[in-house]
Amino acid sequence: MYSFLPTEEQQMLIDAVRRFAESDVRPVARDMEEAAEMSADLVEKGWELGVLQASIPEDFGGFGDYSAMTGVLAAEELGWGDLATAMAVMTPNLFVLPIYLGGTEEQKAKFIPEVIEAEWRPFTGALLEYRMNFNPFELQTTAVREGDAYVLNGEKAFVPYGKGAEALVVYAALDGETQAFIVPGDAEGLSVGEEREKLMGINALPMYRVRLENVRVPLENRIGGEEGFDFKTALAHSYVGLAALAVGVARASFEYATEYAKQREAFGVKIAQKQAIAFMLAEMNTEIEASRLLAWEAAWMLDAGKEEAFKQAYLAFTGAMDMVMMVTDRGVQILGGYGYIREYPAEMWMRNGRGFATFSGMAIV
């Protein structure tokens, strides 16, 4: 069957996240970006919406069934509010979900409840490495088995809340295969750069370079245990999460440009009455819907365990990163000079939009 209607529970969650995004996030997003500071209260409030908690079964401290689709629906609304805030609220996902999706029962029981049952705390994940030809399947960070431990070496980039993290899921190449390891924040050999990452966008989100020098973790900290886990699954869930956030960012930019075009006059009419502008808006909306449906289908495939889910998630992500660039660029263009100045939000959405091609593994649902 085809259906495009969220469940009642999903719709309630969407509504709750939207209210949060509109009333709590939007009013402070620009100031946080300029100050390069994320409000801890805001993140806690977002965490209390329970998006992740509702995705984890009771056995592991949550109160619902896991669904990538629900995650995608919520992520769009969070992304609409503000990308940096969304990624901050969703940072514990980077720790919890790879364990939930690929971990052993013991790992789930040991590591998930302490995150889920408490207030928001910095549990995070580290995949990205700082080089032009970064490839998640060929990591330079390595894991080597030595006796009863894995020894990790390498450097990770753009790690959200890397400083002060209680624990991280670190991705490393083990015999050439990307695997994931649970690393406590205070592990010996783990060091975090003094300075925050300086990026083009999402400046409110604190991100750090994380170095691993002969960091030893016990064997049972490899996600999936002796067998390891299927990295592609975690990556696919990251693709759909990022795609949904991109849809949210694009929608924010599109809606703002639409309202602006209906107010702004030129040559005696509203500029929205000019086909040059109206057609841009029509195409923006069309592309947003196209991307949303791709992300939905991929999330549905992941939930249904379809074989082609990985490919579909990759297509959804790749399509969304082009879509969000196209839409946010036009979002600036329609505002003209006002699009370019920081008093207006359009330029921020455009900077944030450009990041999706880079944000490998930085969000997951």
């Binding site: 085809y2 689709m69 030809n133 057609f279 808006l281 819907e289």
Partner: protein, 421 residues
Amino acid sequence: MAIEFEAPKPIVQQQYVIKTVAENMMRPVSRYYDEHEHEIPWDYIEFMHTAMKASGAGSLAPKEDKKKEADPNKPKRPPIGYQMLAHMLEMLAWGDVGMYLITPGGGLGAAAVEAAGTPEQKKKFLARFAGEKPTFAAMCMTEPQAGSDTSAIRARAVLDEETNEWVINGEKIFVTAGDKSLTEYEQTGRGFIVVWATIDPEAGKAGMRAFVVEAGTPGVKITKLEHKLGIRVSDTAAISLQDVRVPFENILGSPTVERSTKGFKGAMSTFNATRPLVAATGIGVARAALEFLKEKAAEQGVEIRYGLPRNQLTNLEREIIDMEIMLRSAWLMVIKAVWAADNRQPNALVASMSKVKAGDVVTKITQRVVELLGPLGYSREFLAEKWFRDAKITDIYEGTGQINRLVVARQILGYGRKELS
């Protein structure tokens, strides 16, 4: 309810059958009829007629779901008529979109009757498609001076109160399957055309109505068969109507002109059903082209590395991945639009968006495929160049890409014709 993307079982089964038809009845003759414009593929037409009759589907137009005795123990199945049709058309177009356009069963003409006709009209005009011989119907909207701007239609219908007949005069062009609907071939049953004409030129769109004109009605004449860039096997006729008389009850919709444009809008809502279907046919053509490219690339040992960051892909991989994204997302928009149509949900926005998107992507994809295949793309020994020519019509008929952008923009902005034209 929950969001789902599983094609219903009856559709999957149907797809299997249609694919066999596409592979065996269409592809082998696709090139021949492209190069012999105006020849008629009777084998295909008769086969399809027999097959559809056997399956109980006399017409490609979706039926109202028959009211069966409700079994309270069985969960009610939601209707899937338009979804089924979209899948079927996509697959037929994958075989050959021109041949799909001359599939007997009434096409857009029957769709108009289905959408705007009374129960009596449906009974009277649609029964023929399940008859002995393959039968055609066509829609006559466009005039030489009135394309996208349908309010510029000059064809005129006047009621002769003495005989209670409508008298229609006008010139219609670009009528798909117009020849097969009007010419009484020995192989075909009696068809009809649905003619758009005004009953009150002062009233603009509010005066516009559609009339069923049966084949053989005096005064109806085919004046020309067009030669086209693509979809050559599908006849495109110019038709003149001179003092054509049809019975009063052949009018679709209200015979009086109200102040509002409700009547017109009601008839135009046909487009909300047909636009995604046209989009589906374009997608079928583009899928054929993309599959052919992937096949040829695979022969060259090219493997598409899904999952690799895009800055490390080869250009060919990148192109193919981009095209897959375009094609899949356009298809999902079609599915959403027909799903909404099946479930009686408002779908004007997504229906037009699906057409905007499909018009764009199928022309882009087929153009790129020809380029990427090098000499194999441009050569008439393969079908890629034909698909490129065939696909282009998707962005033109059933509302050009630009008209659909207008429709989309008006809905987004809450504007009417007055604010945005």
